[in-house]
């Protein structure tokens, strides 16, 4: 991957084991979400992050609990990585009362303010300016909080991206923009509709920012760049724009088999799968196979338990339907 920064791991082994566990949780969660979709438990749409887990895990590890995540519709991983339990996320996908938002938001809008997950946004580009606003609030209130905002490579051609980047740079806001470049939009290759080779990195200079391109399938490399960008933001030195190269193993959403992608490309990227790759690294660093298997069993048990808990949730009723349109809790526009 020419031009890619090489990771200089600053993490210690305990952190690395956590990073592995986190990536594995995201992977196993998503695999189960896919099964649940096929079993018709998940009714709407859902966009999985299988293959892209290193980015969510690496960033979450570098963030403080008080920092903020802004995600897209492809937001399960980012939500879970911040510590949101699996049960309410599964339940949200299934539209149950024990869902993270009681079923009102669905897969594309996962939000858990308690965990700093300030929302998942389903309109391309919209959350970049919104992340600026949170960062502005931190700057104004001097709280040292940082907003981290994730989006895809295809999202870099929409107006809101441009406005947010310029705005953040001019106001020197504590926000980190992370472009997860998985090469594809829905069914169209991003390079076919983008004027530069690296949708984000090749545009950083247009906002006076450094061009940063990393291997997004290496959780250590992600952690590394996340740590420095977040530190920079916290120090008052303004925003960063990071492009992390990665790949989604499956289709864009739901049951899309992703057949439009050349087999060789898929194979190339399957070989770079962040989860087995990280597992291998841990083995090389001396972690035992047994310890890893124990983690793996633990995660699978967690996914099983959460699935059952989620399925046990209730079906939302009329009370929820009209609730919380307004801050007084009501849904009424008239007296």
């Amino acid at each position: 991957m020419s031009g890619t920064k090489v990771a200089s791991p600053v993490v210690d082994l305990t952190d690395q084991i956590s990073l592995y566990r986190c990536q594995l949780e995201l992977r196993k969660f998503e695999e189960r979400a896919y099964d649940l979709f096929l079993e018709n438990f998940v009714k709407g749409t859902s966009h999985l992050s299988i293959g892209q887990e290193a980015i969510a895990a690496g960033f979450a590890a570098a963030m403080r609990p008080t920092d903020w995540t802004f995600a897209t519709y492809r937001g399960h991983a980012h939500t879970l990585a911040r510590g949101v339990p699996m049960t309410p996320v599964f339940a949200e996908l299934m539209g149950r009362t024990n869902g993270l938002m009681a079923g009102k938001g669905g897969s594309m809008h996962l939000t858990s303010v308690d965990h700093g997950v300030m929302g998942s946004y389903a309109i391309i580009g919209a959350h970049l300016p919104i992340a600026c606003g949170a960062a502005w609030s931190a700057q104004y209130r001097k709280t040292d909080q940082v907003a981290v905002c994730f989006f895809g490579d295809g999202s870099v051609n929409i107006g809101a991206f441009h406005e947010a980047l310029n705005f953040a740079a001019v106001w020197k806001l504590p926000v980190v923009f992370v472009c997860e470049n998985n090469l594809w939009m829905e069914y169209t290759r991003t390079s076919e509709v983008t004027a530069v080779a690296h949708p984000a990195a090749d545009r950083a200079s247009a906002y006076g920012l450094e061009s940063i391109l990393i291997d997004g399938n290496d959780a250590d490399a992600v952690f590394d760049v996340a740590t420095s960008a977040i530190a920079r933001a916290r120090a008052g030195d303004g925003p960063s724009l990071i492009e992390a190269l990665t790949y989604r193993h499956g289709g864009h959403s739901r049951a899309d088999p992703g057949k439009y992608r050349p087999d060789a490309e898929v194979a190339e990227w399957m070989a770079k799968d962040p989860v087995p790759r990280y597992r291998l690294r841990l083995l090389e660093l001396g972690v035992s196979e047994d310890e890893l298997i124990a983690i793996e069993n633990d995660v699978i048990a967690e996914v099983d338990r959460a699935t059952e808990e989620a399925k046990a949730g209730g079906i939302p009723g009329e009370d929820l339907l009209m609730k919380d349109v307004w801050a007084d809790g009501s849904g009424s526009w008239r007296n």
């Binding site: 749409t45 079923g103 594309m108 391309i124």
Partner: protein, 325 residues
Amino acid sequence: MAQLTFREAIARGVAQEMRRDESVVFLGEDVGAAGGVFKGTVGLFEEFGPVRVRDTPISEQAILGAAMGAAMTGLRPIAEIMFADFFAVCWDIVANEIAKSRYMTNGQVTFPLVIRSGNGGGLRFGAQHSQSVENWAMMIPGLKVVVPSNATDVIGLMAASIRDDDPVIFLEAKALYASKMDVPDGEIVDTLGSAKVLRNGTDATVVALGAMVPKALAAAEELANAGIECTVVDVRSLVPLDTTTILREVSATGRLFTVEENPRLCGWGGELASIVSEEAFYDLDGPIVRITTPHIPLPAADALEDMAIPSVERIVSTVTKSMNS
């Protein structure tokens, strides 16, 4: 006659016109080889090639700006906005530029273009992918607004929209994409601004649009069993609006019910209510009643979404209650 789904009808309508007229071109996200996210453009890329059927970046302002600039210089573009909710990111081009430029220039420019989009709920996509935005467009002077309710109408109204010299917002109910019907063979060309009376009754007139039309018809059947005979009118186009048909049918029964998928406030039903209560006031025998989605963002959970959008049961119970009170 061939059985066709609503989604297949779109591609057929577009292809019919692209064959006839070289100036008809098509652009949007994933509309080419992929055949569209809702499979509404399957076959177009293969038949008309990449010069006439073009994939775009995720840049809705550029998509519609391109359609506008092309329309004012001799082409007849069809642009796809994947989900109607995304009109919000390019509303300036629609509402301020396309809609107004003919008038502002005293008729120097003309905008023969169609913007088609997947509209409305029922697919559990949540609040940002399920809106019914027909009223956003109806509200803006200079836009025509077409909302078909079945596959045959899709073809005929699509052809009429493409041939029309004004900008048409063509909204396809996502909930109907999979619906099927027998469609006549050969060219189909319909007329904008013509509502259709789908059923005749003597007691009340139920006016519906898009995905609400089959529900209104089903409700009318149930109501008939209970002794309430309804006329059902499919509006089909909000602009131009066939007030002649609507006023005639409401005057005939003396009662108006609207069935609207949109959230309540400022829906087209309100506009109809104001037209009827001004122009057919003395023919009214009772209140005008609107059946709408409540004025809330649309929830994602299936149970909640089903409660929100007008259902056959809600239409039946609302009409029954109002007719018996």
